[in-house]
Structures are given as C-alpha cells and as structure tokens.
Amino acid sequence: MSSGPLLQVRDLKVHFPVRGGLLGRVRGAVKAVDGVGFDVVRGETLGLVGESGCGKSTLGRALLRLVEPTAGSIRFDGQELTGQSQRRLRPLRRRMQLVFQDPYASLNPRMTVREILGEPFAIHGLARERGEREREVSALVDAMGLPREALERYPHEFSGGQRQRIGIARAIALRPDLVVADEPISALDVSIQAQIVNLLVDLQRERGLTYVFIAHDLKIVEYVSTRVAVMYLGRIVELAPAAELYRRPRHPYTQALLSSVPVPDPGRARTRLLVPGEPPSPLNPPSGCAFHPRCPHVMERCRRESPPLYPLGGGHTAACFLVEGDSREVTAAPASGGDAGVLAQPPSPG
C-alpha cells in the first residue's frame, strides 16, 4: 500500500439519461452526481449526508465502480478505477466493499447465511481450509449479535434489521481497506444501532479500516465521522471536520439541515426549522447556486453563478458566496496548516 489518501475523487459525474416519448429518445439527464471532488484519508470515516435523492447512493456506488461514472477520476490507493475493465478491477474488489441500502435486494435468497458469508472467501480463494472458513464465518455472526443458528437459515427468515446485519457482515468478511456503507444502520433500532456503530468503530481501530458512511441521521454521522461532506443536488456544498461542521456550519443548507434534527421529547412542541421550500428536481436543476430557491440569504448573483467550494482553513470548505470574503482572508494568510487532504475543488460549472 502506498502512502497518500486511500481514495482520490476528482470532478466525478454520474448522469442517467432520461428517455421519453414513443421512441424512447433521450430527452435529458438526471445529473445524480455532478462534479464531485474529495479525498478520503486512510483510517478516517467520511460521513456523507444530504436530502433524499441528492445522489448519495449513486456517488457511493460510483466510488466502487458499481455504477459507471460519466466523467471524472477515482483513484483507489493510487490506482485509477475509471476506464478499467471489470477483470482488472477484480483484485481490488476484495479491498473495497459496499453495504447496500436495501439489504434484501442484495442478498441471494437461495443461499443460507453460511453460504452468503462464505462466498467472498471462496471467490477470492481465501481461508480455503474448511475449519478456518468456519471460524471466520462464525466470528462474523457473533460480532453482528446474531445467533449461530442463523447460519443455517435463508435471508427471508430474518427480520429487516437482522438482514441488514448480514449485509454488513458480508461487507467486512474479507477485511477490506475501504467500506462504503449506505445507510447501514437506518433499519435498526437504537440499541442495535449502538452495538453496530461500536463494532464499526472497533474494527476501524483494530484494522485501520476506512469508511465512507452514508446516512441521513445527523447524530449518528457526527458520532462516527472524522469529517463530514454535505451533498445537495449532486454536488458537495460543504466539507469539514465533524466537530467543526456541527459547531460552525457555514453553508445555509447545512445550517438548515442541522436545525431540523428532531428531539425525542413528546412534551416539546416541534421547534424545528425545517429546510424551507421544495427539494429541486434533478431533471431540471435551478440556475446558479442550486440551493438559491430555498436559501434565506439568496443574492442576485446566486441566481446566475454557481459558487465554487471556498477553502476556509482547517480543512473546512463551503460552496456559498457568503463565505467568499472569509476564504480570501484564509488563502491570503500563509499556509493554514495541515489540511487533511481536503481540496477546494470547484465543481465545474453546468
């Protein structure tokens, strides 16, 4: 393994053609991911948050080349992933894994849990000896808080949360370097969430795992993440160390998102300030800053120009004209110290 970031993403785009009419002609595109750039440092957890439909799952899948990027570059441990044949990617597959958002759809209904968890070892010719594979597989179900008898059962025999844990177990089976976890715990009750999160944190500490952690639960994301990226309509609008982002969110969207966190207290009336307005359609995105129709601070300029990600020092970047001035101060000052691989990559306009 070379040094440097484990994952380097540059100007990544994933566009899905929209067809319509009788002939099924391409009428336009859903720009699910539209010019995203960031690094993921070894051993860190990068949290990825944003509204439903903003492109989190598509980005997560593109990172592992499970969906074909339209443009851009992804380097995993120094090796370019885009443009490679699936065969050439195969040796890397073992080192990068995905926990799917929809566990049921991703588990083969005709295989028992033992087979599901044993399969990755078989595919990659690992733990060939029977006893050894058996030990590995048993350790996995133990770690997930599932009984050993689960090994003999089929996916449909489990509850939703149990299936989700089987998906996680499969992803970590081969001790990958990178795990992209797409809403890995949102189907679980709080107590088991806690158990799984603790386990993921332990695995990270023991094996130096790196996570990209996609979730809509901002509390959990803060808890697990080293840094957090906020997505809006296919782009990253803010990225910062977790504590910094939660304490000093700079983008109006992030601010609205954070003030929307519900409090589990039935006595209290809802005080949340929800993000106002309608989520935009990726089929017909707003001009300029995509957040402008919903932004309380919108300026004339925001309707025309798309703001780049401005560096704000300490690894904090935000794509909003309001922080442009602060950014100038920061960049004018001499090197602002170790930016943990964050780059202020401006998304290329439209």
């Binding site: 439903s52 944190v201 998102l257």
Partner: protein, 342 residues
Amino acid sequence: MTAAVQRPDAERPLLDVRGLTAELSLEEGPVRAVDGVSFSVPPGGTLGVVGESGCGKSLTALSVLGLAPNPPVRVVGGEVLFQGRDLLKLPEAELRRLRGHHAAMVFQEPMTSLNPVFTVGEQIAEGVRLHLGASRAKARERAVEMLRQVGIPAPEERVDAYPHQLSGGMRQRVMIAMALACDPALLIADEPTTALDVTIQAQILDLLKRLQAERGMAVMLITHDLGVVAESCDTVVVMYAGRVVERAPVRELFSRPAHPYTAGLLRSIPSLQVATGEGGAASQRRLRAIPGMVPSLRRLPSGCAFRDRCDRALEICARVVPPLEPKRDGQLAACHNPVPVP
C-alpha cells in the same frame, strides 16, 4: 374519493387486536413469534410499535392483515376486530378487497413489494382503478397527486419512472403514496421513514396527521425511531421477544418508563447536544447499547425473557412469566420489578 366519513363513536376503536398469537414452524418445531399481543387504535389515533430488531413487530403487523407468509407463520389465536369484523375469520377474497382499500400497509422493504417491471405510476394507479373504479386518466392524475403529496420533486415526470430509477427514500415514499391513494381507514406502516431525512420525514408525518384529522384515518406505526414516536404517536406498545412488555401513553413512556427494557431503549438514543462540543470522531466514546442480545425464540429463558439482560432481575423473574398488568395510571408493563418513577 369517498368523502363520507364512517366515523363510529370516537370511543370505539377502529382496530382492536386481542391476544393475537402466531407460530413460526421451524425444523425444531413451532415457536411463538407473536405471543398474546393486544392493542387498539381509535379512529384518528396513532399507535406506535417499538422494540428490538427481530422481536416480532413486522410479523404482528402482517398477521393483522392476513399477510404473514403461511407457511411458516400460522396465526393460532386471538381476534383482530376491524370495523366490527374479525379479520382472522374473513375469507381471503374479502380480506384482499379490504386490504387494498380500507386497510393499507406500507412494507418495511420497498424493493420487495414494488414490481420492477411496472412504472411507479402504474403501480399506484392500479389500486385506484380497482378499488375506486377510477378511469385510467383519473387514476394517473391521482398517482401524480399522491407523489406530489409525499414530496417527490417533478411528480409529472417521476410518475413514469421504474422503481430502480428512484433513490431509496423515493421508493419508500412511493410505497406510502400507494398505500394512501385509496383513502384507507387504517394505515399500517412498517418503518415507513427509515430512508428519509428529517425534512421529508416531517412532511410525511404532517401528511399523515392531516389525513387523520380530516378523515379520521387510524395509524399503526412500527418504527425504531423514538423521535418519530415522540412526535406522532398517542400510545406506544413496546415489544420484546414476541410479547408486549409495556403499553403506555407516549408522554408517560418517555418520562417514566416502567419496563427495564424500555428504559434501556431510551438510554441508547445518541443525542446531538451530548456529542457536540466533545470534539472529533467517536473513537473515545461509546454509545450505550443494552448489554447482551435478544434471545433466540427457540431458546427463550424461563420466566421473563429479558432477565439475562436485566439489571433489576429478582429471583422470581426466572420462575414466573410476568403478566402485562397496570402499574400506574394508564401504563401497563410486564415486569416483576418495574423501574420506579424518577
């Protein structure tokens, strides 16, 4: 849509489940996955069902509407009274008619219940045509309207999308749209907001509240999200290993849980305030999980099923199954040594 609201006197529950018991047949023999579960939901009311993964929430919901897969699940006892009729005794054909129309279900995993070869619009419209006798055009209009109500951007375009072209949260909302399209009197929603961010979640909860206020729709809401419970439920049922271990009005449940399991559940909620300000990632802190794991239904401990994880266990807990009984005002718990009022 049928505007005539059939609202029986508010006292009478719309759904009254009594002693529902369902067995799972496993190789080793039958086990009780749902064991004597009772609750009721009045018109316009919301019942929350919470409990650890695998405790039988989905099987309870599925059994209520006769949807549990048989085999291996078989309802062996109890009554499910809905609009005065026992659904457990209803012929399958009648049950099917009732399900698409008066009682609707949102399933836990959208991809298992959406058909990949039809557009989401076709799937929503199908029920509308079948149950409300709407024309093709009207049904499509209704589908667009429902997609708009659940907050899907550009519904006129999305109505023609196939399930795989939508994001996880959108698919979940399509399920909700489908369930609500025929104006059901009862909605059973199994984890309907797991894939949704707080803003959209709030929009969905508001939509449900409006339908409840306007039309007296009753809701049974299965969720592990205690924030959602706090915000939208009147009464909460807490399940553990197939049984109801606590049933209480929502305020009491949060302010003075009686069952040790409920208390443990409330302690596991991570709070933003606590986490903020401590700086940085989680590495030094740990979330508080309830120790141990849910027992296997095949090997339930004698007496109270929670006892090997309970810090209040007494000697009697190993011998006698605690019955669900009133502990204090409006609050029932199945526990020999309930948590005292703080």
